[in-house]
Every structure is written in structure tokens, then in C-alpha cells.
Amino acid sequence: MGAGGEPHALHICGKGGLTGSTRIMPQDLDRSEPAELSYREAVREAIRDALIRDQRVFLMGEDVGRYGGCYAVSKGLLSEFGAERIRDTPLSESAFTGAGIGAAIAGMRPIVELMTVNFSLLALDQILNTAATIRHMSGNQFDVPLVIRMATGAGRQLAAQHSHSLEGWYAHIPGIKVLAPATIEDARGMLWTALEDPDPVLIFENIMLYNMMGKLAADAGPVEIAKAAVRREGRDISLITYGGSLWKTLEAASLLAAENIEAEVIDLRSLRPLDDATIMASVSKTRRAIIVDEGWRSGSISAEICARIVEQTFWEIDAPLGRVCSEEVPVPYPRHLEQAAIPQAAKIVAAAKVAVGRA
């Protein structure tokens, strides 16, 4: 891991080597894409691709235009696509998220960018009470084909109000879909599929991933958004995770391999719906599981996954299930405390060793 705790120089193949991301439509790109790029650039390319492909697509959010995006994701898009399609909004999360819902219902394909999950709470009413419910309340009369993107996660010493990981909370809500792209390929490919979905889709981009570099296949395009991916095969224990924690989990798997413990790493990719089939196949094979989740442990998505594992593979498991989550504390400011508060490879290794009886 790099000094800032972020993954770097990771080479990820678009197709070979990793399973789980299947093409759903062939792509003829009318411009060349860089062979090696950052996660941030991959997201930008995804947005550009969507804007070019479909005139109904537009991006709306705070500082997405002139500022170029809080995390520089949308840099350059304003000059390329103009102010009608790259819309800077006032600091009115509720209004512009609701506006995104209305525009989607009326036939556009908006991408609403909520600067971070921390501010999304101001739009929670629109997300839960409008986006997630309109199809149902209207008796299936209206689609809400809206995509909301948000940055999430801790690690930059931004302290308690700017460091939440609330993906698990959103995954609680029927009526929306929740994605957590952890790889360059997914950052590039999930957006289009989400835009084509007639239901609201929330995409969470972990802030520690934006600088991550990687290779992308020349024909990289849309990926499916309902399945988990096995990022590393193993027979001794399943490490189940998503988003920013994927890379710490892969690092933990390397450390465990040096001690002859072969871990299988599952990247959930979608938190709602959860890909039970992939999870259970893995846990049936290894008989042990640790879930790594940057949310706080209590009532988290890791708790949901544990419950599902017990429900569906009780007779196969051979050790208590474990979880590595953020500690029950608002995220502190100083670096050493922040790092102690969130999941780390060392904690994952320790939990795995307990599960295999080598503690």
C-alpha cells in the first residue's frame, strides 16, 4: 500500500485473470482510451461515454462544472459538453436530487452527483421517500431511471463529518440499487449499465480509490451490476468485501498466503442486490468467512451478510463468522487514530487466523 494507505501501481486486466465482470454489449469507441489510467479517469471516461452516447444524459451536482468536481472527476467536461449538460447546482441536495428524480421520470437520464455520502443525508428524504417509492406508490406507472454517484469513505483525515461509509444504510432500502465499484474496470463499466436501469441506482466511489492506477482493456465497456466477483481464489477461508476495502483485503490475502493460508477474496460489487449465489458457493467451499466492511459494525451490511451465510450455508460452516469493520467511534482526525478506526490488512489477517485456528 502507498503512504496514504491507498493502493497504487496495481495492474488489473480488463478481461483475463479476474472473473465476474461480464460484457453485456460490445462497444465501438469513437476515440481511443488510455491504456493505463486512474480510477478517477475511468469514472470520467464513463461519464463522457454516456454523454456522447445518449443526449438524454446530463450531469448535475455541486461544483461539477466550473470547479471540475470536488475529486476532479468531471474536470474538462463543462468545456466539452456545455452548461446545459454539465450543471452546477446550488448547495441544495434535496432539490437537485429531487429534480434528478423528476427529470428521470420525465424521460431524461440524469447523473446526480452528491459530493459525498456525508452530504447525501440532506437528500435522504428524496432518495428514500421519492426515488425508492414512486414506482411502488403509483402501482408501477413510473420508472425512475436515475443514477446518483457519491464519494464515500475515510482515510484523508477529514474527521467525523466527512468520513462516513453509509453504503450499507442505503442497501437497506427496497426500491433502489447500490453499487460499489472497487476496480478500474468497474469504475469504467458500471455507470452505463446503471443509466440503462429503469430503477434508481446509487454508485459509491471510495475516496481512497480515485488515485489508484491500473490498466484497462482497449475495448472496456459496460459491465453487469448484479454479481459479485471472485478476485482471488482460495480454499481455506472466504474474505468478503467491497469498495475501498477490497485492496486491503487482497493485501491481507497475500500475507496469509505466506503463512500457508489460502484466502478466497470476493468483491461484492453490488450491495443491493447482494449476490448470494457467489457468496454461498465460496463459503461452502472454504467453510469459513470474514466480512470486511468500512461501515460501523452495528447493524451493518456485514451483519446482513453474516445472517445470510448462516441462513443458507449453516451446515457447511466450520468456524464462527468474523467481521472487520470500522470501530464504533466517529472517525477521528489524527492519522494514527483514523487508521486505527478503519479496517486494515493486519486486522483482516488476524481475524482470518482466528477463524482457521491459527491465532
Binding site: A95, I101, D197
Partner: protein, 327 residues
């Protein structure tokens, strides 16, 4: 389209019938609610009919309407079939929302009726979004957004007005100021009680309107809609009205006096308009009787329809959460 309401007799009778139709329907809903045919929350429009009836008929078919949980009147005037609305309140599958929504969530795609919303001010951002789509596609479509004085306190009201003004979106904001947000009097919750001034502070064209006068409401609505179609910019109407019944059925109305209600009833929209028509000899008693009879018949038909309606099978519970794709 001209600003002046057409004061032809046919049109007048039309306005009266619309208001009577709403009033009788709401009263019947009250009765059905006491009999537990309608459940949950029921918010009735008695006293406010002139607002819906003044605004909605001048809209085009392609125009859009967003309303609140007190939306029966808007739905009926817009053309949502009465029996579908009542069946919806009964919870039957034949309801306009498939029985899934109830009184507070009447939706109808065919008439561009976007609900029915139980969150105060929750519909304003939605209306802004619908208008944004039309603006981006350069369509000549107006979105009429109805809400009460209570919504004015919510952040979403301010955010929505600001955004609509900033981006020049074709929204007709209609504030039905009935002086009470549930049990809280306007003067106790707003430092500035001239609500149209708040819209003006966002540089939105706005005016106060006598919400008990259906002709005045129509005239103001015509001005507003014309301005919106010509400029593409939003408009704000503060319709001053009064709610004759309680906030909802289960409300002891401890927060206002009976005398106040009585005073407003004297100048209620139907009483006033009918009185005006009668004194101008523009309506005969037989015509009034005919209107009442037609309305009563329609209501009875709606009740029969709702009573005969069917319950959605419980196996279908989890449908309509996500789009159903062809297998």
C-alpha cells in the same frame, strides 16, 4: 390563450359543477372513513375547491401536475376517474395506483398526475425535475405544483424555488395558504406571512390571490401560465383559502375556533360562486338540482365500483419494487 376567463354560462356551470363534485366526493369520503372503508390518513379539501378548479382546467393535456396528500380535488378536476380514485382509497387493485398507495398517493400517468405526496414539500423538487426535463427538451409544457403554507417552512421549498428561478424552469408554484399547517397557525411559524413575497425574494413573478373566488383564481392562473409559456420562467400564486374540515379525520381542532371556521364558511367558494350566479340569474334551480343529481349518481357509481373491487393477491406483495424485466 387569453388572460381573461371565459365567462360564458357553460363555463360558469362547469366551474360550479367541478367544485360541487369535489365537495360531495370529499364528504362521502368522510362518511366512508367513519365506516372504516377508507383507512390510514384522510385529508379533505372542503373549502379549497376554488384553487384546483381555477387552475387545473386551463392546463393542457401534456402539462404536468404535482400535488400533496390533500390531492383528491386536484385529481378529480384533472380527470382521474372518480371510481379509480375511490377504489384506490379502498385499497383495491382497480385503484389508480393499483391499490398500493391509498388516499395520499393518487397517481395517474394518463393525465400526467404525479401524485399525491405525504412528505410536506416533498413534491417541489420533483416538480422542478419534471420541468427541467421539459426545459432541456425545449418543450412547451408547464408543471403545476400544489402545496400548502406548511411547505413554505421546509428547506425543500426554498431550494426548489431558487433552483427553478436560477435555471428558468417552467413551474407554476401554487401555494394553497389555508392558514394552518396541520395544527400550527401560519403566524406562529413564519416570520413573513405574506408568502408570495418569499417567491419574489427568489425573483419569481408572484401574486396573492383570493383563493375563495374561483374566477379570481382562474384569472390569476391564466396570467401565470401565459407568462410561463412565454418566458419559460416559473410563477408563484399564493391562493388564500381555508380548510373547512380538520387537518385529517382524527383531529380535535384544538388550535382554532369554531367561530373562525364559521366566518370562512360564509364566504366559501361554492356558496359565493353559486350566490353570484344566482343573483346574476345565470343559473336555474333545476340546473343546480341536475348538477347535484349527476354528482350523486357518479359518486354512487364510484362506491359500487370500489365495493366490487378486488384485493391484490398477497403473493404479489414484492412486485413494483423494481422494474419487471421480460424473463
Amino acid at each position: 390563450m387569453s388572460d381573461k376567463p371565459h365567462l360564458s354560462r357553460a363555463h360558469e356551470l362547469d366551474l360550479l359543477k367541478h367544485m360541487i363534485r369535489i365537495r360531495r366526493f370529499e364528504d362521502k369520503c368522510a362518511e366512508l372513513y367513519t365506516q372504516e372503508k377508507i383507512r390510514g390518513f384522510l385529508h379533505l379539501y372542503d373549502g379549497e375547491e376554488a384553487v384546483a378548479v381555477g387552475v387545473i382546467p386551463i392546463l393542457e393535456k401534456a402539462d404536468r401536475i404535482v400535488s400533496t396528500y390533500r390531492e383528491h380535488g386536484h385529481a378529480l378536476v384533472r380527470g382521474v376517474p372518480m371510481k379509480a380514485a375511490l377504489a384506490e382509497m379502498y385499497g383495491k387493485q382497480e385503484g389508480c395506483s393499483g391499490g398500493r398507495g391509498g388516499s395520499m398517493h393518487l397517481f395517474d400517468r394518463a393525465t400526467n398526475f404525479y401524485g399525491g405526496n405525504a412528505i410536506v414539500a416533498g413534491g417541489l423538487p420533483l416538480a422542478v425535475g419534471l420541468a427541467l426535463a421539459d426545459h432541456m427538451r425545449a418543450e412547451n409544457i408547464v408543471t403545476a405544483c400544489f402545496f400548502g403554507d406548511g411547505a413554505v417552512a421546509e428547506g425543500e421549498f426554498h431550494e426548489s424555488l431558487n433552483l427553478a428561478a436560477l435555471w428558468a424552469l417552467p413551474v407554476l408554484f401554487v401555494c394553497e395558504n389555508n392558514l394552518y399547517a396541520m395544527g400550527t397557525a401560519l403566524a406562529l411559524s413564519e416570520s413573513e406571512t405574506d408568502l408570495h413575497l418569499k417567491a419574489a425574494s427568489y425573483r419569481i413573478a408572484s401574486e396573492p390571490v383570493d383563493g375563495m373566488d374561483v374566477v379570481a383564481v382562474e384569472a390569476a392562473a391564466r396570467r401565470a401560465v401565459r407568462a410561463i409559456r412565454e418566458t419559460g420562467k416559473p410563477y408563484f400564486l399564493e391562493c388564500r383559502t381555508y380548510r373547512f374540515r380538520a387537518h385529517s379525520m382524527f383531529d380535535a381542532q384544538l388550535y382554532r375556533t369554531k367561530a373562525e371556521g364559521e366566518a370562512w364558511r360564509q364566504k366559501g367558494p361554492i356558496v359565493r360562486f353559486r350566490g353570484w350566479l344566482e343573483s346574476n340569474r345565470m343559473i336555474h334551480p333545476e340546473e343546480l338540482a341536475r348538477i347535484e343529481a349527476e354528482v350523486a349518481a357518479e359518486i354512487n357509481e364510484a362506491i359500487a365500483f370500489a365495493e366490487a373491487g378486488t384485493w391484490e393477491p398477497a403473493e404479489n406483495l414484492t412486485r413494483f419494487t423494481y422494474a419487471e424485466r421480460a424473463a
